[in-house]
């Protein structure tokens, strides 16, 4: 198999196929499942060791959760404080209500700079607003500088994880991509050689391109400062060398005080990469004469986030600090990888964030892409109760269905509505059990097991047998045994 995905994945929730369908080619891809499993195992093992070592881990999670929840509850005040301080420090703050506006603001800024090229630090927010294709179409050459992002950009691939976006691509595929686009025919597939090729490819760009675009891990209200957390150093390059910096950040990224980083940084690195601290964290405030970009813009992005603030049980979605611990822990993600989620935000956080950003008009299959095992909640450094939000969103999707025609023909919907009626009374429940037993007799083989069922039942029997309904229910047995006798209790 020469290419990781058999079809080019669609990471646009407007067009992506529903999760069960999107997952199929992934499940049939042994290399993907192996790559994903391996990446997850590496990070999980490292994280587990550090969590045990960090004796105040649960207290850090509690405070991390409290800080993020507090910031969201008072988001207006903190955003305004950030804007005031950042502006006082020489930055310019822009507000983008949606993706289109954010793209246009950024393009207008680039045009003012006469920027035909721009270097970028990895930011999932820019992928969310589909910035790169927009800029390219407008004649701006965008150069990703994060190794994974370079691989994806040059290979015309899509990210499948928010911290290790190219984890579904193996070294020989990277070699092929680099050899082709960098003109390096004799390039080996050794990761050291590949990384060295990327380093050389980027060096001149860092030193000559005067305009950069970044995201932000945290916006600090108290100071107007921005923090970027990274491993490779391409962030430091983009944040230090250019003349103009444009930082794109979701409005939910704000924390109240500089001191809050003492909690956030401790939980972020351990959760994201299984390290006590990531190699490089950069903090800057507005413009510092003589050091770094002299023109600094922050583009604050709403794009559906403010609608998520409304309901308390859902507001917690925005606490996310993009560590990806949830998807590393997720047994579903482990088998499907990220592309199945049809969004730049995959995994458990994607399953709740993406449909909500779409205001529940799209990606309605995502809240159901979970077995509700709870592993994500267990590892989330800011205690987002993802299963709780999944259940909220499922209820919203079903409520939508209640007024749609599908409700008359969807066997799952009908089945559940009928089941509810049957459960309301013991006699109807018992009658249904009786009818079920009779009906299923047709499908029950001599060994007492069912091998094949029609309709939605086929979804079970395509890979599992089902033991035939016993001839006597428990309640029937209880009623039949009469007054209690421990000798007969068998």
């Amino acid at each position: 198999m020469s290419h990781a995905t058999s079809t080019h994945p669609v990471l646009d929730p407007l067009f992506a196929p529903p999760f069960p369908q999107a997952a199929l080619p992934m499940l049939r891809n042994p290399q993907l499942r192996k790559n994903v499993g391996h990446a997850i195992d590496v990070i999980q093992a490292k994280r587990a060791k550090l969590v045990v070592e960090k004796t105040d881990w649960q207290q850090l999670r509690s405070t991390g959760s409290a800080i993020r929840a507090h910031a969201l509850e008072n988001l207006g005040a903190y955003l305004e404080e950030f804007e005031t301080r950042c502006t006082a420090a020489g930055g310019t703050v822009h507000w983008a209500a949606d993706a289109a506006e954010a793209r246009q603001i950024i393009l207008d800024l680039l045009r003012k700079e006469n920027a035909g090229e721009v270097i970028k630090i990895k930011t999932m927010t820019s992928a969310e607003i589909q910035l790169n294709p927009f800029l390219q179409a407008a004649g701006v050459n965008v150069f990703e500088t994060d190794l994974a992002e370079i691989i994806l950009q040059l290979g015309e691939e899509e990210p499948s994880h928010i911290v290790v976006p190219a984890l579904h691509i193996n070294r020989s595929q990277v070699r092929e991509i680099f050899a082709r686009s960098m003109g390096l025919k004799d390039l080996s597939d050794d990761p050291h050689a590949l990384t060295a090729a990327a380093r050389t490819y980027l060096r001149q760009k860092f030193l000559t391109i005067p305009t950069a675009i970044s995201g932000a891990n945290f916006l600090i209200a108290e100071t107007g400062g921005v923090a970027v957390v990274e491993s490779e150093g391409n962030g430091r390059m983009c944040l230090t060398l250019p003349r103009t910096m444009i930082t794109l950040a979701g409005i939910e990224k704000v924390v109240p005080r500089f001191q809050d980083l003492e909690v956030m940084l401790q939980v972020l690195a351990r959760s994201a990469t299984g390290e006590r601290m990531n190699p490089y964290t950069s903090l800057w405030t507005g413009v510092t004469p003589g050091d770094g970009p002299q023109r600094f813009h922050v583009v604050l992005l709403d794009n559906g986030r403010s609608s998520i603030l409304t309901r308390p049980k859902q507001r917690q979605t925005l606490k996310c600090i993009r560590c990806a611990a949830c998807m590393n822990a997720c047994p579903v993600y482990r088998q499907t990888g990220g592309h199945a989620y049809g969004s730049v935000y995959p995994g458990p956080i994607g399953a709740i964030l993406t449909p909500q950003l779409m205001q529940m008009h799209h990606a309605q299959s995502l809240p159901f892409a979970s077995s509700l095992c709870g592993a994500c909640y267990e590892v989330c450094p800011v205690k987002i109760n993802i299963p709780e939000v999944l259940l909220e969103l499922r209820a919203q999707v079903v409520n939508q269905e209640r007024s749609q025609f599908a409700r008359f023909v969807d066997p799952m919907y009908l089945g559940l509505r009928i089941a509810n009626l049957l459960f309301a009374k013991a006699w109807s429940f018992h009658a249904a059990q009786f009818m079920g037993r009779i009906g299923l007799r047709f499908f029950t083989r001599k060994d007492g097991w069912i091998h094949s069922l029609p309709s939605i039942g086929a979804k079970w029997t395509q890979t599992r047998d089902l033991r035939g309904l016993p001839s006597q229910t428990f309640h029937g047995w209880w009623a039949a045994r009469g007054p209690k006798s421990s000798k007969e209790a068998k």
Binding site: V42, I43, T55, D56, T63, A66, H70, L72, E73, N74, L75, G76, A77, E80, W95, E101, L147, A148, I151, V164, L167, I169, R171, T195, L207, I220, E222, G225, S231, E232, G233, N234, R236, M237, T240, P256, F258, L261, E262, L265, Q266, A269, E275, R276, M277, N278, P279, Y280, T281, S282, L283, W284, T285, T288, G290, D291, L300, S306, S307, L309
Partner: protein, 226 residues
């Protein structure tokens, strides 16, 4: 109202409406913030000796080379380290103590050096603001003795002079030392690294591949904040 102002207002209005029942007004906000639970470790328990030992261990874990020195022996230690490196041309921040500029090397003092000049240097020597032992983190606040951010970014070799009195055990203790938040900061906890290709850890993508630390035992000296 112009479009940008409209969006700002629209977003803030949406936020205000959404958080109406939970947002605090200005007078209460600080109090509510102050009441957030902080039961995590705020101060370490290690002795000064153990703390330094931990800092050294963590630095060495990520292949930084560490030697110890004293305030009196520091210039000689620096000279020795530079000689061992086999390098000749170094950039330094303009506020670096003059006595650290050992004889026999080509010192490019950063009075607005160009990027090309910094690129040509073989190494950089700086002071630091703080060291966090728990994670082996070196904190730079880019003061005159620590230098502009580009100085510790482009050269491949970085010698950092860290005083023992600057070393704290935990990250919260570093934040506690900041009398006010720094405008600029870089936290270094390892050489640049990536695991993007098959989770194989590769070091030194961008930024110095070689970090050397001289830990100065200034035990008599008091730390700037406790």
């Amino acid at each position: 109202m112009s479009a940008p102002v409209q969006s700002r207002q629209r977003i803030l209005d949406r936020i205000r409406t959404a958080t109406l029942s939970v947002a605090k007004d200005a007078s209460q906000l600080a109090d509510v913030y102050a009441a957030l639970p902080r039961d995590y470790i705020r101060r370490g328990k290690l002795s000064a000796e153990a703390r330094l030992a931990l800092m050294i261990e963590r630095l060495r874990e990520y292949d930084a080379e560490v030697v110890e020195s004293t305030p009196a022996a520091l210039p000689a230690s620096i000279a020795a380290r530079l000689a061992l490196s086999g390098k000749h041309t170094f950039v330094v921040p303009h506020g670096l103590p003059a006595e650290w500029l050992a004889a026999g090397f080509d010192w490019k003092i950063d009075h607005e050096l160009t990027t090309a000049e910094i690129e040509q240097a073989e190494g950089v020597v700086t002071a630091a603001f703080c060291g966090v032992a728990d994670s082996g983190t070196i904190v730079l606040h880019h003061s005159p003795a620590e230098g502009r951010r580009v100085l510790t970014l482009l050269p491949d070799w970085h010698l950092c002079i860290l005083r023992a009195s600057q070393v704290v055990e935990t990250l919260p203790e570093y934040f506690n030392r900041c009398q006010q938040p720094p405008a600029l900061a870089t936290y270094i906890s390892g050489p640049s690294a990536t695991a993007d290709i098959e989770m194989t850890r590769i070091k030194g993508v961008h930024g110095p591949r070689f970090l050397h630390v001289i830990l100065v035992r200034d035990q008599g000296a008091r730390p700037t904040m406790n």
